[in-house]
């Protein structure tokens, strides 16, 4: 009852000073709103990047031929011509913890179909490629080991190719010419969207890697090897094993540089998310400053309020209020202001985040945890900044307070 009454007293006091309460709350509303919106934008960007990374596939290790750190003129990734089909086969058979391996040959080619042409990426891959990338087909089927062995002229195409070359028709079963060689379309891939680097992953034609090497690119080496490890296998261990194996196979003596580069998914993910993490932290920090300013605003108003209501405090003490009751009253006022500001700020933050996504097209992600944290934080701001004025009020001497003019 006593608690209940004190809370009622506090709420009544706030109602009596409506304009002041609203203005004080405004500081917190803007602070919490800014935190929610800014963290929402940061998280949205992070989620987008994470989705792109997930589109690489799960537990993927990439091996590129050619070492990034060789001196002199450098051919770039995949250009050195040191990875072979035998390397890929050796990795598949000799390294424990490897689930799937797909040798990769990458090339850009002009493709023709239906009297239309399109410049696209032609990927030579193994049959496990789609499993590794977790990339389903929407139509038709994948080529098989048999197709790989026979350097079959078969392909599957990405959504962009399907749209650009086959507008309204079903592409499965139709022909597609790569470098004037006719390939039969076996299947159409599901839409995958943009890659981490921002390129269109659906602008692709996938053919057996043997066909790519012998018929299209006419080369004897692979650009890269994609490996999927078992979920339980340690990526670092597998990467080290692969490095050892390849060094041995390529006869690289100790002290000499690798002629290949191994990248785990974690590294790619870490590099890509580092920026967005920094951005989220920066945005959050800037927004927190405004929340802090809002908190100081509350403290300021509460101090003014204590001074202004010294006589009221004196009266309350004279009729039997304990210091505790006065403390609770002023603390309740501060917490009410700040948590009310928190709730309105959350609405404002969610609203402006939605508005930003709608108007500016930025991806935003409001997580429940950020809302809960923002609310608790605003309440904590109330306690923190309300405590000093409330304690000041509670420690007043009733006689002095009663005589205060």
């Amino acid at each position: 009852m006593r608690w209940f009454a004190t809370i009622r007293i506090a709420l009544r006091a706030l109602r009596r000073n409506k304009l002041r309460s609203v203005l004080t709350t405004l500081g917190i509303i803007i602070g919490v709103g800014a935190v929610i919106a800014m963290v929402g934008i940061g998280n949205g960007a992070k989620a987008q990047v994470e989705a792109q990374i997930a589109s690489l596939g799960q537990n993927v290790v990439l091996i590129f031929s050619g070492n990034f750190s060789t001196g002199g003129a450098r051919s770039g990734w995949g250009g050195a011509g040191t990875l072979t089909i035998d390397d890929a086969a050796a990795i598949a058979t000799e390294i424990p913890g490897v689930l799937h391996v797909s040798p990769e040959v990458r090339d850009r080619q002009q493709v023709l179909a239906n009297g239309l042409n399109w410049n696209t990426t032609v990927l030579g891959e193994g049959p496990d490629y789609l499993t590794i990338r977790d990339w389903p087909l929407v139509d038709g089927g994948m080529f098989t080991d048999q197709d790989v062995r026979s350097t079959a002229k078969v392909c599957i195409i990405g959504q962009t190719i399907a749209t650009e070359l086959f507008a309204n028709e079903d592409p499965v079963g139709q022909g597609l010419r790569i470098r004037n060689i006719p390939f039969k379309i076996l299947g159409v891939l599901a839409r995958k969207g943009l890659s981490v680097m921002g390129s269109d992953q659906d602008d692709v034609v996938v053919i057996p890697y043997t066909s790519a090497m012998k018929r299209v690119s006419r080369r004897t080496y692979l650009n890269s090897i994609i490996v999927q490890t078992a979920p339980a296998a340690t990526s670092a261990k597998v990467q080290a094993d692969i490095a050892d194996l390849l060094r041995q196979r390529h006869r690289i003596g100790t002290g000499r540089d690798d002629d290949f580069t191994i990248r785990g998914q974690e590294e790619i993910a870490a590099a890509a998310t580092a920026t967005t993490k920094t951005m989220t932290a920066l945005l959050g920090a800037i927004a927190s400053v405004s929340l802090l300013v809002g908190g100081i605003g509350i403290m300021n108003i509460m101090l003014v309020s204590v001074t202004e209501r010294t006589r009221e405090i004196g009266i309350r003490m004279a009729v039997g209020a304990h210091g505790r009751d006065i403390l609770l009253q002023f603390l309740t006022e501060a917490i009410t202001l700040s948590s009310l500001g928190g709730i309105l700020g959350i609405l404002l933050g969610v609203g402006s985040a939605k508005l930003l996504s709608a108007v500016a097209g930025w991806p935003t992600l409001i997580s429940t945890s950020s809302v809960v944290v923002a609310f608790l934080f605003s309440a904590a701001v109330g306690i923190f900044f309300g405590f000093y004025p409330a304690r000041k009020a509670a420690r007043l001497d009733p006689i002095t307070a009663l005589r205060y003019e």
Partner: protein
């Protein structure tokens, strides 16, 4: 009748810089239940300090104070607050009502700090009854700025009465009031006292002190006289006299 207030050798010394000021210098006073005592004195006589001690707002630096059987000179801040809440009712010179708060809510105030939980309806009932005693039940919803000085003081009296105190304490209750409303307030006090309420009032006005039953005069922190009132004024009679006097000079109809 037993003593409600028992002061024995009470002293209060203030330290202001180098000098010690003895505001109350050894007061022994006994006030029995049902008395109506006026403490008189010029400013600086120590009467207000004594009143603060009696009102448990201040603690004596020496001596013993027993209120309604409780030794209050030894109590801590919170315990004193509880004593003020349950055993004392305060009426101040400046009314000290909460602004922008209805008369009814002002009267409810002491009950909000009473440990025994009362429902909102009970609070309201008790506050209304207290307002009825001072004749302001019809003004329950008015805010202090909508009430006259006399009415505000009566709300303050209702607030003082609401927790059924052992003693009603009034510090210059008529200091801010004109003659007519002063007499009205004294009328309320006399009525309450007739009903058995113990009242202790501080004033510097002799004619106001004449409404009480016993006058205690203070000077330099000590009691210099303690006498029963012989020519006691009666508020209703005085009001009629005032009315006639005003009519004579056509101040009133």
């Amino acid at each position: 009748m037993s003593a409600v207030i028992q002061l024995t050798g009470v002293e209060k010394t203030y330290h202001s810089g180098e000098i010690d000021v003895r505001a109350v210098a050894g007061v022994t006073l006994e006030i029995r239940a049902g008395e109506f005592v006026a403490i008189l004195g010029a400013s600086g006589s120590g009467k207000s300090t004594l009143m603060n001690i009696i009102g448990c707002l201040d603690r004596p630096t020496a001596g013993h104070y027993s209120l309604d059987g409780t030794a209050v000179s030894a109590l801590n801040r919170d315990a004193l607050a509880d004593v003020r809440n349950r055993k004392l009712g305060f009426v101040f010179q400046g009314f000290n009502l909460l602004a922008r708060t209805s008369a009814l809510e002002n009267v409810e105030l002491p009950m909000l700090y009473t440990h025994a939980g009362l429902s909102r309806a009970e609070l309201r009932d008790r506050a209304l009854r207290a307002l009825e005693v001072v004749g302001l039940a019809d003004r329950a919803g008015h805010h202090p700025n909508q009430l006259s000085g006399g009415q505000q003081q009566r709300v303050a009296i209702a607030r003082a009465l609401v927790n059924n105190p052992a003693v009603l304490l009034a510090d210059e209750p008529t200091g801010n009031l004109d003659t007519r409303t002063s007499i009205e307030v004294m009328g309320v006090f006399q009525k309450l006292n007739d009903g058995g309420m113990t009242i202790v009032m501080v004033t510097h006005e002799l004619d106001i002190a004449a409404y009480s039953r016993r006058n205690v005069v203070m000077r330099d922190g000590q009691i210099i006289s303690d006498t029963p009132v012989t020519k006691r004024l009666s508020a209703p009679t005085e009001l009629i006299r005032l009315q006639e006097a005003h009519a004579a000079v056509q101040l009133a109809p």
